[in-house]
């Protein structure tokens, strides 16, 4: 019999959700264990080698403002930084960077291995169960128990890989599917559903003819993700674009029946946000071409990730269609694309802490909840990690609402709406897009994380310093009657900088940009702040955890079932359950008031 080691919090899974959860929990000062199948899994970019992008860059900034690791990792590993949507307005600008896979993993492992209170163990979980008020975990060689557990098992639950006409049970290529864990999770009898995702073939870099392809250059002055990074040190490389053509489309159309997706072998729901090339050609037959973004996998890697042609066609067809594309005529496919089907837990089993309603102290984060994307996973990981640690300390929960952060929007959507396809973040999902921006995540969130003890003093000081600069700049503008905004940012910056010089004041570029943005949106901000107040009032109408919707009169059975499934904890959450009617809400409101009166 082996000795059972105890931890306050154990994280199962070393993907992006797991890494953030482990770091978040350990930062709160509780003993934390990160259990991963292999050490190399930590910080693996299992799909495309890039972090951020529209809305997702916002998430990374928010994770960073809460003290998370993703922003710091990509700042050390990014080889092609771009600020997206520069021409669309500051509220929707979002950073993205191509990553060197090895550098990213190295950065993640380094940050985690230097994290106090955190142990990392590479082992396979064989069994997992609730024992009295603790969770016990049996691995191949050891046994552990914990006050709270965060499961971040990704796409590994009943994972099935499809290559053309063949399929096999597995996680990612080279990984064993976590079947023992799957069995014990199944024993929890949570409602599950099946989803599908896919990946493109990997191409040997030296087999690509770049001479005729369009070049995409990185930003001249790369903007870091992390508020802790002063500047990006590593050299920046270009990326390349190419396009499918009529020959490509013909070939794929002719062989559609051989695709795993189209032969009826796959039952999981695919994402519309990242469609396979079969889907693009089948559903949008009138398009003459589709873009392929050739993402380098790193400085020294000989692999290229051709973003835009994920598919589940047989390998010979993949080789043929790839070679119809300009620049890829002699492309050598090192690993063919494939589709993955997997189970996920219906996130309506969770509350806003990402804790299961039915199992206290058990948290779920990442793709297991039906999301897609590293950034979505990290965002959930950090919230689950904080709350697992707070739970084990017996402290009040840390909840981000839709009015606080895009992370709040993400979690609220998951727990109230559930998912019908892999969930991806979009800024249009947020009611308060003009306020929840990538440029102010630190001002919105760092203080709150600091109250938990989750950020370093240096980070808190940096945020306070920035706030101070902004405020003093604002008062200078007022004092010297310098108009804040009269034209576009560049013109205004030049003008105000000159005015500041004349008055003998120090001009601070980043503070000025911030004030310029705030001023641009101020008319709407006032209205949005009123709406936020109204939502917060609804959020303060708490529905009791033991509420039985079947004892509340005047609700339809359909609504009662929905309330029972998602167990909203506030009136605000209830209002967002699909199919909720104004009259049912009125009844719930009445119900919370009747409870108040009794209390």
């Amino acid at each position: 019999m082996t000795i059972t080691r105890h931890y306050d919090v154990i994280i199962i899974g070393g993907g992006h959700a797991g890494c953030e959860a482990a770091s978040a929990s350990a930062r709160l000062g509780v003993s934390t264990l990160l259990l991963t199948q292999k050490l190399q899994d930590i910080g693996t970019l299992s799909c495309n080698p890039a972090i951020g992008g529209l809305a997702r860059g916002h998430l990374v900034r928010e994770v960073d403002a809460l003290g998370g690791i993703m922003g710091r990792c990509i700042d050390k590993a990014g080889i092609h930084f771009r600020m997206l949507n520069r021409s669309r307005g500051p509220a929707v600008q979002s950073p993205r960077a191509q990553a060197d896979r090895e550098l990213y993993q190295k950065a993640a492992l380094e940050l985690l291995s230097h994290q106090e209170n955190l142990d990392i163990v590479a082992d396979k979980v064989m069994a997992f169960e609730r024992h009295n008020d603790r969770w016990t975990i049996q691995t191949k060689s050891q046994s552990f128990n914990a006050n709270a557990v965060v499961l971040t098992t990704g796409t590994f639950l009943n994972g099935v890989i499809h290559f053309g006409e063949t399929s096999r049970s597995a996680g990612r290529i080279g990984d064993e599917a976590s079947t023992g864990l799957a069995r014990d999770l199944a024993n929890l009898s949570l409602s599950m559903a099946r989803l599908k995702t896919g990946t493109p073939p990997r191409i040997r870099k030296s087999s690509i003819d770049y001479s005729q392809l369009a070049i995409q250059r990185p930003d001249e002055a790369p903007v870091p993700f992390s508020y802790m990074t002063d500047r990006i040190a590593q050299p920046q490389v270009p990326c390349h674009l190419t396009y499918t053509n009529a020959d490509t489309h013909q070939l794929i159309a002719d062989n559609l029946h051989r695709s795993a997706m189209y032969s009826g072998n796959i039952t999981g729901t695919p994402t519309r946000y990242c469609p396979s090339i079969e889907d693009k050609i089948d559903r949008f037959a009138d398009r003459e071409r589709h873009q392929i973004f050739l993402e380098p996998e790193g400085y020294h890697s000989d692999l290229v990730y051709p973003n835009g042609i994920s598919n589940s066609l047989p390998e010979d067809i993949q080789v043929q269609f790839v070679r119809t594309v300009a620049g890829l005529e002699n492309a050598e496919i090192i690993q063919p694309g494939y589709a993955v089907e997997y189970d996920h837990v219906d996130p309506r089993n969770l509350d806003a802490k990402l804790e299961l309603h039915a199992y206290p102290c058990l948290f779920l984060a990442g793709q297991v909840n039906g999301t897609t994307g590293y950034e979505e996973a990290a965002a959930q990981g950090i919230v689950a990690g904080f709350n697992a640690a707070l739970r084990s300390k017996g402290q009040a929960a840390f909840i981000l609402s839709r009015t606080d952060a895009l992370i709040g929007v993400l979690i609220d959507d998951l727990i109230t709406q559930g998912v019908s396809e892999p969930y991806r973040m979009f800024t249009s999902r947020a009611e308060f897009r003009l306020i929840l921006r990538a440029d102010n995540a630190d001002l919105r969130l760092t203080e709150r994380a600091s109250a938990l003890g989750a950020v370093s003093d240096a980070r808190l000081r940096k945020m306070e310093c920035r706030r101070h600069h902004i405020e003093s700049m604002n008062s200078s503008l007022v004092e010297f009657k310098i108009p804040l905004r009269t034209a576009d940012l560049q013109t205004d910056t030049d003008r105000v900088e000159l005015d500041f010089e004349k008055c003998g004041l120090k001009f601070d570029q980043s503070s000025y940009e911030y004030l310029h943005t705030e001023d641009l949106y101020k008319h709407h901000t006032r209205r949005l702040e009123r709406e936020i107040k109204a939502i917060r009032a609804e959020e303060s109408r708490v529905l009791p955890t033991d509420m039985d919707p079947f004892t509340i009169s005047g609700l339809s059975n359909e609504i009662r079932e929905k309330l029972r499934a998602s167990k909203p904890s506030t009136l605000a959450e209830a209002s967002r359950i699909s199919g909720m009617t104004p009259s049912a809400l009125a009844r719930l409101y009445h119900y919370t008031k009747s409870i108040d009166e009794v209390a």
Partner: protein, 449 residues
């Protein structure tokens, strides 16, 4: 309604009448009916004749009863209508018998319709139209309310909303998939300004044309004005047919603004008697004059009264019209001989004592009213209620914001204005702001990452 109470109310106006109707809605209404009739429930949706009994086994009335089983009723609940003989005592005794039962209470104002709304039997628009129909004083108001019930304006608003929604889809797609995603068609974006402009033109036209309907709904304001002692109050009383206004020889008698609602050939008119205009040191009279001035400025039609005697003597000059709709009236014509006065500049020469004169005045006024209603009426046949008209003003305001945002090139700002517009539509259409935006993006565009 938030509780499961059964509500009851007398549906007909208070007082004695040939019949009076009591309405019940809610789960207990069937129990009430069985208790009152001491018999089984009648067949639904069929008039039945029953004796009604009170709790002491006394007969109350020989009544016609109607039962509507849920959900096929006005409110969506079980409903009962009792048609009683119109004595207040009978109604009172039926009410009391029902109210003695557990779970039955008096309905609050509008609660039956509120139940219908919450049960989804009526939409907000129909509720408003129903309220306007009930409140209608004149035939013109009735036709306006009926026109609203047919849902034409509802359809127009829905159509506008969906066109804004399509623009929002294009803008959001551009925001979510960035400058470099080739699949988001730039042509869609370049059309945004044209599409917004055409919506603005349409909405502005209909918004302006609502003035007529507002006149129908609120009635035209007709203000009696002129110097003191010009006989305005006498004319006012003659119109009303009773001595509503105090009439006296001493100048400056009228201080307050007196108002009556008149049905003038089916069109509602609010006739107002105001203080005579003169310079005064009397503070109270001065306040009256200020009120009068306010009414005069806001009037649709001004009836300028000039005393025929003072006109003949040259004491009162010819008043100048504010608009061509105004009427110049020479009053007290019975005090002068008609042949001796020059009255060609006046529209009418009348005596309030002379019935045919009053008929001519009514006729002239009616003609003016019709003129105003026809002039403001455009080809547009969409009739909006006040809430919708107000919402359109907000939407037009946000549309200006859209244009500005487009000029400064901030798509996020444009998207925000479009959201405000969508909220305004959702609000006015009585819908929750259910966003189908992403769904629509993905059926329109082929998006890869």
């Amino acid at each position: 309604m938030l509780d499961d109470a059964t509500i009851i109310a007398v549906a007909t106006p208070p007082g004695r009448s040939a019949i009076s109707v009591i309405r019940l809605s809610g789960p207990k209404s069937t129990d009430c009916l069985m208790a009152l009739t001491r018999s089984q429930l009648p067949e639904p949706r069929r008039a039945s004749r029953r004796w009604l009994w009170d709790a002491t086994e006394q007969r109350i009335d020989d009544a016609i009863v109607l039962f509507f089983a849920k959900p096929y009723s006005y409110t969506g609940f079980d409903c009962v209508e009792l048609h009683l003989h119109g004595s207040p005592a009978i109604a009172e005794s039926v009410l009391q018998t029902c109210l003695d039962m557990q779970g039955v209470r008096l309905a609050r104002a509008g609660e039956f319709t509120r139940q219908a709304l919450l049960a989804g039997k009526l939409d907000l628009h129909q509720v408003e139209a129903t309220a306007e129909l009930i409140d209608a004083d004149t035939s013109a108001q009735i036709s306006t309310a009926i026109a609203q019930m047919d849902g034409k304006s509802h359809r127009q608003l829905t159509d506008w909303r969906s066109r804004f929604h399509k623009i929002a889809v294009d803008v959001e797609a551009a925001l979510e998939f960035g400058e470099e995603e080739g699949d988001v068609d730039q042509a869609h974006l370049s059309q945004v300004e044209v599409r917004l402009s055409s919506l603005r033109a349409e909405i502005a036209t209909i918004s302006t044309s609502q003035q007529t309907h507002q006149l129908v709904r609120d009635g035209l304001s007709v203000v009696l004005t002129g110097p003191v002692n010009a006989g305005k109050s006498t004319l006012f009383n003659a119109f009303v047919g009773s001595d509503l206004a105090i009439v006296h020889d001493s100048p400056g008698t009228t201080r307050d603004v007196l108002e009556v609602r008149l049905d003038l050939n089916g069109q509602l008119v609010r006739l107002k008697d105001t203080a005579g205009l003169r310079h005064t040191d009397n503070a109270v009279e001065q306040m009256g004059i200020e009120r009068a001035t306010h009414e005069i400025n806001n009037a649709d039609i001004r009836l300028y009264c000039v005393d025929a005697v003072k006109w003949a003597s040259g004491e009162t000059p010819l008043p100048s019209r504010n608009s061509s709709n105004d009427l110049l009236v020479l009053t007290k014509s019975d005090l002068v001989s008609r042949e001796t006065i020059q009255a060609t500049q006046f529209d009418l020469v009348i005596s309030a004592m002379h019935a045919p004169d009053m008929a001519r005045l009514r006729q002239a006024l009616s003609k003016r009213v019709d003129q105003i209603c026809t002039n403001t009426k455009t080809e547009c046949s969409i009739i909006l209620n006040r809430r919708q008209t107000e919402a359109l003003k907000d939407i037009l305001f946000s549309l200006e914001g859209c244009m500005l945002a487009r000029q400064c090139g901030d798509l996020a700002l444009l998207a925000e204005e479009l959201r405000s517009i969508d909220h305004a539509f959702a609000h006015v259409l009585g819908l929750q702001g259910a966003e189908k935006l992403l769904d629509d993006i993905f059926s329109t565009f082929c998006i890869g990452k």
